[in-house]
């Protein structure tokens, strides 16, 4: 044990008070269960003994080739809801909590969603949104990189939060513009994120995880995200182009 003998009476008393205060926190029961479930889930993925490893590798390769082919043909991967949630959590936990909000919705609604074969017309896309948000579709279409089509527009709820989501596609590349209504006190500033750059007085924030690039800004009542599997530079260029018009649009909406 550490140097109790070097502490005077007052220091010992403070140490005891400190221990009492910190040790007052109890782990929530659901966390313990969650960890056990995660361990059970990963147990099945523990490595085989060496003598079986070549068979496992061959089987995995076969599954990947055939499974990947089928998934490619279908255009998306059919994962269970639990597996999707697990994937979303594992990826999004690697970015700041305020950045997770948009990323989760992008993965949930774009990555795991089957897209229509043809892009809808502007009128059809607008009909899927409530009247106040319809005006954002032309703004988004104007500023996304060439070749991207607005494939899905919708208002959705995920983990108790409402989103307006425009999902765009260019061949196999995905791009989302996600609007989330702010909850109490939410702001990129309070998360102490540093803007990557400022466009027309609007601070733009940026982060990335795995293949996802996330850029964002905020209006008084909304968090706005552009998330894609484009390069970091292209994703930033997209939000840089879009932010002034979208910010004006939201300013009028929030009056």
């Amino acid at each position: 044990m550490s140097m109790d003998k070097n502490l005077n009476e007052e220091e010992l008393k403070l140490r005891q008070q400190l221990q009492r205060a910190v040790r007052g926190a109890e782990v929530p029961p659901y966390l313990e269960n969650k960890i056990r479930a995660a361990i059970r889930g990963s147990e099945a993925r523990r490595p085989f003994p060496f003598r079986y490893s070549w068979m496992a590798a061959a089987a995995a390769l076969a599954i990947a080739v055939f499974g990947g082919g089928i998934a490619y043909q279908l255009g998306y991967l059919r994962l269970t809801t639990g597996a999707q949630e697990s994937y979303i959590a594992s990826v999004s936990n690697q970015v700041a909590s305020i950045m997770r909000i948009g990323l989760r919705d992008h993965i949930h609604c774009s990555v795991f969603r089957k897209f229509p074969k043809e892009a809808p017309t502007l009128e059809t896309a607008q009909r899927k949104l409530s009247a106040p948000y319809r005006g954002m579709i032309p703004i988004v279409r104007k500023h996304v990189p060439a070749g991207f089509d607005v494939m899905i527009t919708h208002e959705c709820g995920f983990h108790g939060r409402k989103f307006v989501h425009l999902a765009l596609k260019r061949n196999s590349e995905l791009l989302s513009v996600v609007l989330a209504r702010k909850e109490d006190g939410e702001s990129f500033r309070t998360e102490e994120l540093i803007p990557a750059l400022t466009q027309a007085g609007i601070p733009l924030y940026q982060t990335g995880v795995q293949r996802f690039q996330i850029a964002a800004f905020e209006s008084p009542r909304h968090l706005v995200y552009v998330i894609s599997d484009l390069s970091k530079e292209t994703n930033m260029q997209t939000i840089t182009a879009m932010a002034p018009d979208l910010n004006d649009f939201l300013s009028k909406l929030e009056l």
């Binding site: 550490s2 007052e10 140490r15 960890i35 056990r36 990963s42 147990e43 936990n93």
Partner: protein, 184 residues
């Protein structure tokens, strides 16, 4: 527990009992329960994945704390903009010439609030040594820093904690100011 026992059972017996210790330290280091829960889950999953490399009968608790700080350091580079330690040290040199006594009547909330104000590097050492009662050598191994650095950060962390608590006392109109203590 023997090496021959199923790994899941050994893990349950050796690692799971320390969940509370890991959780409360993560909460105090990260300052937010949701983040702490994510990190604690990651710690246990990493521990489970490398449990075959853990030598049964050695200090599992210290091993888990080492994984915890590895995860915290990995995440905090992304989540936070921590001030450099150099700045903290300069701040401390300038402000802690006088080590005030801690006031007598403190609530847990006041102590935790004071603890949370410590720079993260000092807070980590105070938590490991004073709360979790690790030896200096163990704390040095967990944090991957020299033992001398542990001792210096602990000393400064404790002084800064007393200073924060003295602030609380002063807000109640108790005690003297640091300037008075220094005779300025």
């Amino acid at each position: 527990m023997t090496e021959g026992a199923p790994a899941a059972h050994r893990f349950e017996m050796e690692a799971m009992p320390h969940l509370n210790d890991i959780y409360r330290t993560a909460t105090r280091i990260l300052g937010e329960r949701a983040r702490a829960e994510d990190v604690v889950q990651e710690v246990y999953l990493q521990a489970w994945k490398s449990f075959d490399r853990f030598e049964s009968g050695t200090n599992c608790r210290a091993w888990l704390f080492k994984i915890l700080f590895h995860c915290v350091n990995h995440h905090r580079r992304k989540w936070f903009r921590f001030p450099l330690l150099k700045e903290n040290e300069e701040f401390l040199e300038a402000n802690l010439a006088y080590s005030p006594p801690a006031p007598d009547h403190l609530t847990d909330e006041e102590i935790l609030a004071a603890l949370d104000k410590l720079p993260a590097d000092f807070r980590s050492v105070v938590l490991l040594v004073d709360v979790e009662e690790f030896a200096y050598k163990e704390a040095a191994d967990i944090l991957q820093i020299p033992i001398g650095t542990v001792m210096s950060r602990l000393s400064r962390g404790r002084r800064l904690l007393r200073e924060q608590l003295a602030e609380v006392a002063r807000s109640y109109g108790i005690g003297r100011t640091a300037e008075e203590g220094r005779g300025v």
